[in-house]
């Protein structure tokens, strides 16, 4: 057992404990804005951590970079500008909401370390363009790393567990990890590429059971240009379908992801496949609920599911809320910030909502 622990230590990484510079995700803000707000609330109010949300931040260009319209020099310098904002705030621990951004900052910093002339070139470009200077981050973490780090402390505060309230059995979860979190720099992910544990650790700490299934590490299929261009979307949905078909026999109660894109795709492609082919991957025609780790943390802590943003999912989450025993007010689901009822989305033709 000692040897196993020692070996496992090699698959862990240093995660900063406080004083974070939060770099927002274009995709997360667009599709699940409640998740970012929930993470900030958990950090400040539950864990008492110091985290800054600088209003002058912007895209890291990750999607533009990986769809090959933004050159690497430009991307490196845009990342450097974000680091200059972190320097202005006197922080050194970068937390990137987006998994693409996480992979990108690791790639950029590793490039600077291995090719110092690239670092000097970036410093020159940034200063010439903006008069700014920057430092390399002392630590780069993904927010899911931080939730993992504090999962036991958060678990003690949680009002609910990942247990079926009727049967008492652990809920069965598929965890899906963004490719750019663990496949590019294995040593930067908890558990490495082969034994990813950042989400499994949360699920197990909070009472659930992790499903291992054949296509567990398969890409969800975002594929950058393969989704951005309408003509290419068949690739994207085919990847997700491969995963759904693989997980279906294991009857998951929900899917948990740490990547903003993956969460959106695994939700929306279930809808698209249902409408195109009349197929869902549960036994009720409703699909398998897909949650972000921020949403899961929030609802188990007792936050209103409609304040964390579950109403923005196309596959409805009520089946999971019912299993856990989390109460919710259906009348509150489609209310806006003004308190006004905003009508309801139309119902899909096949997917039951």
């Amino acid at each position: 057992m000692e040897l196993k622990k020692r070996y496992w230590n090699e698959y862990l990484k240093e995660i900063a404990g406080d004083n974070y510079f939060y770099e927002r995700s274009c995709i997360r803000q667009t599709f699940f804005p409640g998740s970012e707000a929930t993470f900030l609330k958990v950090m400040k109010e539950e864990l008492g951590r110091n985290i800054v949300d600088n209003p002058n931040q912007h895209t890291c260009t990750g999607i533009g970079y990986h769809s090959d319209v933004v050159p690497f020099n430009t991307t490196m310098t845009i990342c450097a500008r974000l680091l200059s904002l972190m320097k202005e705030n006197r922080f050194q621990h970068l937390v990137t909401s987006c998994v693409t951004s996480f992979g990108l900052f690791n790639e950029v910093v590793e490039t600077w370390k291995q090719f110092p002339e690239e670092l000097e070139k970036t410093r020159h470009y940034l200063y010439k363009a903006t008069g700014r200077e920057f430092d390399l981050p002392a630590n780069i973490a993904h927010p899911s790393d931080i939730i993992y780090k504090f999962r036991k402390e958060l678990g003690q505060k949680m009002k609910y567990r990942l247990v079926n309230k009727e049967t008492g059995n652990p809920l069965r979860a598929v965890e899906h990890i963004g490719c750019h979190y663990s496949k590019i720099f294995s040593e930067q992910s908890i558990g490495g590429t082969e034994f990813p544990h950042v989400l499994a650790g949360m699920i197990e700490a909070w009472g659930g059971e992790v499903i291992d299934y054949p296509e567990r590490r398969h890409c969800c299929g975002f594929g950058f240009r393969q989704y951005l261009i309408k003509a290419n979307r068949g690739y994207s949905v085919a990847n997700s379908r491969k995963k759904f078909e693989s997980m279906q026999p294991y009857k998951p109660d929900f899917i948990l992801t740490n990547c903003p894109g993956c969460a959106m795709f695994m939700d929306k492609w279930q809808y698209a496949i249902a409408e195109m082919e009349g197929v869902t991957y549960d036994d009720k025609g409703m699909g398998i609920p897909v949650l972000t780790y921020e949403e899961l943390t929030g609802i188990l802590l007792g936050y209103n599911p409609w304040d964390v943003g579950l109403q923005l999912h196309q596959v409805q989450a009520e089946s999971l809320l019912n299993k856990i025993g989390i109460p919710y007010d259906p009348q509150n689901k489609y209310i806006g910030v003004s308190g006004k009822l905003l009508g309801e989305p139309q119902k899909p033709d096949f997917l039951r909502v």
């Binding site: 690497f72 363009a129 304040d307």
Partner: protein, 236 residues
């Protein structure tokens, strides 16, 4: 060395991405693009490693280099630490710099990406944004997306955001001085010049497809064409 290989070598990512590929094919075994497209990353590494200018030129003009989904599963498996996904990025860069991307159906799509993601970055400081994802061009987002777009400010602000307003928060309006600095960075680093090349070569292609030499050409038509065109048999 040949012209194309020289251009590839200048990119630090190429130096990092290809070191003595031994043709084992493990990258192809794990590659999702190889599953669903007529795509073989092993073969691409082979061609590049051979430094055959004629074959590399054919690659730059082909659909093949545009099939990769950039998941980097290849990196996780290569026994030599190569990164076919990174080599693809360099090939795509050279293809666009030299204008060869307009020779292929998939390559021509770069114009649409530049006009959407590319221009979002320099105009609003986001890669993607609610107001740029029209439900009409994104039916796969479902009816909940239509509801969300119709009530974006009410919904985003309920969820703790700050929709298109000053200050911090999700989907805030990014202040102009930040947008200005982003544009200055693009100017200084060659990003603007790269965007200009994508536009220029795409306009030349649009003219040749319409068989006209008009200086003014409707690029909206060309956008719609490259965004939706899927004529060849790209799949296995």
């Amino acid at each position: 060395m040949g012209r194309i290989y020289d251009l590839l070598l200048k990119d630090v990512r190429f130096q990092e991405g290809l070191t003595a590929c031994m043709n084992c094919g493990v990258c192809t075994a794990i590659c999702p693009a190889a599953e669903f497209y007529n795509y073989d990353p092993r073969q691409i590494c082979n061609i590049v490693q051979s430094k055959d200018e004629e074959k590399m030129l054919a690659l730059l003009k082909s659909d093949i280099i545009w099939y990769c989904g950039q998941c980097m599963s290849c990196k996780s498996r290569c026994p030599r630490g190569n990164v076919p996904g990174l080599i693809i990025s360099v090939l795509r860069k050279v293809s666009q710099e030299l204008g060869y991307f307009t020779e292929s159906e998939k390559g021509r799509q770069q114009f649409a990406i530049k006009r959407t993601i590319g221009e979002n970055i320099i105009n609003i400081g986001y890669c993607v944004h609610v107001e740029k994802m029209d439900p009409e061009t994104h039916p796969e987002q479902g009816p909940v997306w239509r509801w969300y777009v119709d009530h974006a400010e009410e919904v985003v602000d309920r969820l703790g955001g700050n929709y298109k307003k000053k200050g911090s928060g999700a989907l805030r309006a990014i202040a102009q001085e930040n947008i200005d600095e982003i544009n200055q960075i693009f100017e200084v680093t060659g990003g603007s010049e790269f965007y200009g090349k994508i536009e220029h070569f795409s306009q030349e292609k649009a003219k040749s497809l319409k068989q006209t030499t008009d200086d003014e050409i409707d690029m909206n038509d060309y956008f719609n064409r490259v965004y939706t065109e899927n004529t060849k048999d790209h799949q296995k």
